[in-house]
């Protein structure tokens, strides 16, 4: 992932918790695939499993690889299934003004960019999408800038940790990195200042 330009799916709700992203009753699988079908299950389908027309994922008007959500997105349970569901559905970026810590880490570990923007930028993006669902957002990971197409004079800088940026751009994996530190870990274990009994 270096640069993405896409239309957006707006979810103007604050404090979206991971129980809404993927309810617990769908966490029974032992693999990572297929969670997208149940993304936002209880907002998306009624009790008879029929699509709820006014939920945004059921509206053809809004499509794209970018989900735009209210502040404190991904709070609650640590379930990585939430990130798997978002990725499996086809989102590559989630935009919000604030993310919960564990969700942010889980997203990055699955190649999904949690893009943090200012409250003002988020409000403008929601307003533009509402006025014109064909509005596109452009995100350049290399320069850490995001902007609404046609509004290049108002580029939003975003923060991302250098290491994670490198992983996203190159598709690197934390475990490969940690496994490369085997000797350092063994040395730490042998020199630990305090050894616990268990």
């Amino acid at each position: 992932m270096k640069y993405i330009k896409s239309t957006c799916v707006p979810l103007k709700i604050e404090n979206v918790d991971t129980d809404q992203i993927i309810p617990a009753r769908f966490l029974k699988a032992t693999t990572k695939e297929g969670f997208g079908d149940n993304l936002f299950r209880d907002w998306r389908y009624d009790k008879q499993d029929q699509p709820i027309a006014d939920f945004v994922l059921n509206q053809d008007t809004y499509q794209g690889e970018i989900l735009v959500a209210g502040k404190n997105f991904g709070c609650g349970s640590s379930r990585e299934h939430a990130a798997w569901a978002i990725g499996d559905y086809g989102f590559k970026i989630v935009v919000s003004s604030f993310f919960a810590d564990i969700f942010r880490g889980n997203s990055l570990n699955n190649g999904i960019l949690p893009l943090i923007v200012s409250e003002e930028f988020l409000a403008e993006l929601f307003a533009d999408i509402k006025a014109n669902p064909a509005t596109t957002l452009e995100v350049d990971l290399e320069t850490q800038k995001a902007w609404i197409s046609g509004k290049e004079d108002n580029k939003q800088s975003f923060e991302i940790d250098e290491y994670k940026k490198m992983c996203l751009i190159n598709g690197y994996d934390d475990i490969d990195y940690l496994l490369s530190l085997k000797e350092e870990i063994a040395k730490y274990e042998s020199e630990r200042p305090y050894t616990f009994n268990v």
């Binding site: 709700i13 129980d19 404190n72 940790d161 870990i185 616990f196």
Partner: protein, 466 residues
């Protein structure tokens, strides 16, 4: 990285576990104890298989089945096929990789955050992780404990380390004496209502002050358990004599000389005088009333004697609509359908005793379903040994078998759509206890009082009339 600069408890434990610190990289943090359960581990075990590697430290890894288990007839095969498969997969994986597993039927089985402490595995100064956000519970012992996602579970299984950016430090001080009928659960619901469901994000929170140090270990666990509900990575409380007394003699606690050495080390951990925090809040314990939530995140809580606040945003309005509550409506008197006493927040023996003491000689209100779900087999055994089961039976409360139960709407225990459940668990999210279920979070005492009255009451008044 030792220096004479005064350090916080959190810094001492964190810094002593950093295997590598490098500019622009997260810290490589060594993990002393890894707890696993059936829901967030299978994909990580698959990852190990895919890479053809062993689990790094089986002696530091502990498994149990809790989230996806029934709380009735645990001696029979699990009825639902997907749940059965997930629990069986945990057994197969633990067998194959050599992990100790306290599965269904084992005398140590229970909710992962209940069994770790009661077995003495949770100890001060340790780093502890689990693929579950309520791992923060273990911070009550002065350990750094936090929830991780499955990718990180796989990191720890592979290398006994995880990559972590060091969080900022916050201290929350609660001083003074609590009113009669106000408990640890009320303290933490009060703090979250002040700081909001995101007020702790990016921080690790030390809870301090006389109201905290006066709490039992069970109470401290309740407080740290819910630190994640204000977005914090975890909570931590200085180890003291209460901590040592709780741990001494437990199954995996150090023994003999090792115990003496451990206590000596643990006593060096509390925050030094003069250490600084990035943020600090101070509250007066006397201001705290029995708390109840009215909305769909744990920050939406008020004193039980207050009315439902005016919504401040569209999201607040949506929450009230979901809950079927009106602004300005009194919470006292609100009828309830279900009472759930359980979960990693409040299913320890002290919680069960408090409920029994309150309901002894009373009966539940007609039409209310009351579930008491012990946190572990050991808690269940203790409750029965003390005769609490008989008190519950006389009151019409149902004592079930250990598990996460109706906290998360994953296993068989769910609250039906539209019904009100006063719950001692930790989350009141939409659908958390089952699709359409309406959750009101409260303490075990407030939940027990509601069970008897059939509606929300101020437990302080009930205690005054006893």
């Amino acid at each position: 990285m030792s220096s004479n600069k005064p350090r916080t408890l959190f810094e001492k434990v964190w810094d002593s576990h950093v295997v590598q610190r490098k500019e622009n990289y997260p810290d490589v943090l060594y993990i002393d104890t890894h707890f696993i359960h059936e829901v967030t581990s299978p994909q990580a075990f698959n990852g190990l298989r895919g890479r053809g590697i062993e689990l790094a430290r089986v002696d530091q890894t502990w498994g149990t089945a809790d989230h996806n288990v029934p709380t009735k007839d645990q001696h029979l095969p699990i009825k639902e096929a997907l749940s059965r498969h997930q629990v069986e997969t945990l057994h197969k994986n633990c067998d194959e990789f050599g992990v100790k597993l306290y599965g269904l039927g084992h005398p140590f089985q229970g909710i992962v955050h209940v069994i770790g402490p009661e077995l003495g595995v949770t100890q001060p100064g340790k780093t502890i992780v689990c693929g579950d956000s309520h791992t923060s519970t273990h911070g009550a012992f002065g350990s750094i404990a936090f929830g991780i996602g499955t990718s990180q579970v796989e990191q720890v299984m592979s290398t006994q380390c995880t990559l972590q950016n060091k969080p900022k430090a916050m201290r929350i001080v609660v001083d003074g004496d609590l009113q009669e009928g106000v408990t640890a659960k009320d303290i933490v619901l009060y703090v979250i209502s002040k700081l909001s469901a995101s007020g702790g994000t990016g921080y690790f929170v030390e809870f301090a002050g006389s109201a905290i140090s006066q709490l039992s270990m069970e109470g401290r666990m309740t407080v740290c358990n819910m630190s994640i509900e204000m977005g914090a990575r975890g909570g931590i409380i200085a180890p003291d004599q209460t901590t040592f007394d709780y741990l001494e003699g437990r199954e995996f606690s150090p023994k003999g000389e090792a115990w003496e050495n451990s206590v000596k080390y643990w006593k060096s951990l509390p925050t030094d005088d003069g250490a600084t925090f990035d943020a600090e809040y101070v509250y007066d314990a006397a201001d705290i009333a029995p708390m109840v939530t009215y909305g769909t995140n744990p920050g939406m809580g008020v004193g039980v004697d207050k009315s439902v606040p005016i919504p401040e945003s569209e999201s607040d309005k949506k929450a009230l609509e979901y809950m079927g509550l009106q602004e300005g409506e009194s919470l006292i008197g609100k009828p309830i359908d279900y009472v759930f006493i359980g979960s990693c927040t409040n299913a320890r023996i002290e919680d069960l005793r408090a409920v029994a003491e309150f309901v002894k000689g009373k009966k539940k209100a007609d039409g209310v379903n009351v579930w008491i779900v012990p946190g572990s087999k050991q808690v269940e055994k203790q409750a029965i040994a003390e005769g609490l089961d008989k008190i519950y039976a006389e009151a019409g409360f149902e004592l079930r078998e250990p598990g996460c139960s109706a906290c998360l709407g994953m296993n068989e225990d769910k609250v039906p759509a539209g019904m009100y459940c006063i719950s001692t668990s930790n989350r009141n999210f939409e659908g958390r206890q089952g699709p359409g279920a309406r959750t009101l979070l409260a303490s075990p005492l407030t939940a027990a009082a509601a069970a008897v009255s059939g509606h929300i009451v101020d437990v302080r008044e009930q205690l005054a009339t006893v």
